[in-house]
């Protein structure tokens, strides 16, 4: 699709907005519909669009597969790290109240933002990995 001028121009214009919207959906999950999973998928769709229009080699240049794979693990690590923080502070695993012990409500908000980003990072990167793997095989055929 590299020779399609309209697609290339529209994709270039759209991608930053898709990324911002994905981050907004993850961050705003506390207040409105959305959350880590949906935001992560939207985030991934920006990169997949880039890969579809410019080719998977260009995508690999923009986000190297090794970094994508590392971030997939990092998302789960961030989630369980927040849980472990509660455990190490003397509470239960994933007890967000220990993040700000005098105001458990704020702690919950912080905890939820962090774990939503954990979910979002893992979902986005795994979607990119799945796309990469399929695109790689298609390139081989």
């Amino acid at each position: 699709m590299e020779d399609q001028v309209v697609l290339r121009v529209v994709a270039k214009i759209m991608i930053p907005f898709i990324i911002i919207f994905g981050l907004y959906v993850i961050t705003h999950g506390d207040f409105g519909p959305g959350g880590g999973f949906q935001g992560g998928v939207i985030l991934a769709s920006a990169f997949i669009l880039y890969g579809l229009v410019f080719g998977r080699e260009e995508l690999a240049k923009a986000v190297p597969p090794r970094i994508v794979e590392a971030f997939a693990a990092f998302g789960v690590l961030l989630y369980s790290g927040v849980g472990l923080y509660g455990l190490l502070s003397g509470g239960n695993f994933l007890d967000y109240s220990y993040i700000t012990p005098h105001d458990p409500r704020t702690g919950e908000a912080w905890g939820i933002i962090l774990v939503e980003y954990g979910v979002g990072i893992t979902v986005a990167t795994v979607m990119i990995i799945i796309y990469n793997m399929i695109a790689e095989r298609i390139g081989d055929e």
Binding site: I48, E69, L94, P101, P104, E108, T122
Partner: protein, 244 residues
């Protein structure tokens, strides 16, 4: 009683049914994948109508977005036309009809949609909104105390709505700024609060499942760097030789 919503819902569900049947019937798999995306988009509208915006969001992003891309990617390997089927098998048809009938029979027991007397609204919903599982706080001396927001007496005084709060009472409460800024024990989006706090273990392992899916893709499909010929058969062959 025919409201606008009823007409809109009927049209949507009719379209959903038609799309679902077409997805199965159509022989061109490319068209079938696109229709599956359309099906998800229509379902997202149905969820929105039912005020399940979070579900609608997921359906639109995953069903209509990502999975269409992945299905079309898979199509490259399987070919574009469906193989000739052997026609309807009576045994399979019987099983499908019985399962479908059992599911329909099960829905008879469900309360009507939006019924204010449904068990969810009479006692379950309120408890979920005020969930205080493991909510503690530390006082000035660092001692564990029940945070006032999560003690039963505080909740009874501020949020107790009798046996069950009617929809109007909850709406009034939700409209007041105090509820979220000063009094509400949880973040405003109840769905996020339930998924990421009340059921946080569940969500954590769901995330782990997604990571496992990604790792499985990497193990199964990644082209190994030492492969001279990057086709699937040679890759397997080389691995076996390498092991020897």
């Amino acid at each position: 009683m025919i409201s606008n919503l009823f007409i809109f819902d009927s049209i949507l569900l009719l379209l959903v049914t038609i799309t679902a049947i077409t997805v199965v019937q159509v022989k061109d798999l490319f068209a079938s994948s696109m229709l599956a995306g359309l099906y998800s988009l229509l379902m997202a509208l149905v969820w929105t109508n039912m005020h399940a915006v979070d579900v609608a969001f997921t359906e639109a992003a995953v069903g209509a977005g990502i999975s269409t891309v992945l299905l079309i990617g898979a199509l490259v390997f399987t070919g574009r036309q469906e193989k000739k089927s052997d026609g309807v098998k009576p045994g399979a048809l019987l099983i499908v009809v019985i399962t479908g009938g059992a599911l329909l029979y099960g829905t008879i027991d469900m309360p009507a949609f939006g019924d204010p007397n449904a068990p969810l609204h009479t006692h379950r919903g309120e408890k979920l909104l005020l969930q205080n599982v493991g909510k503690i706080s530390l006082d000035e001396k660092g001692q564990r105390v029940d945070h006032p927001l999560y003690t039963e007496s505080y909740q009874k005084e501020h949020w107790d709505l009798g046996d069950y709060g009617s929809g109007d009472e909850w709406n009034e409460l939700a409209k007041s700024n105090d509820f979220y800024l000063h009094g509400a024990p949880h973040i405003p989006n109840t769905v996020s609060s339930l998924l990421a706090d009340y059921r946080s273990f569940d969500t954590m392992f769901e995330t782990a499942v997604i990571l496992t899916a990604g790792v499985a893709m990497l193990i199964l499909l990644r082209r190994r760097e030492e492969d001279p010929e990057p086709t699937m058969d040679t890759a397997d062959h080389d691995t076996i030789k390498g092991d020897n």
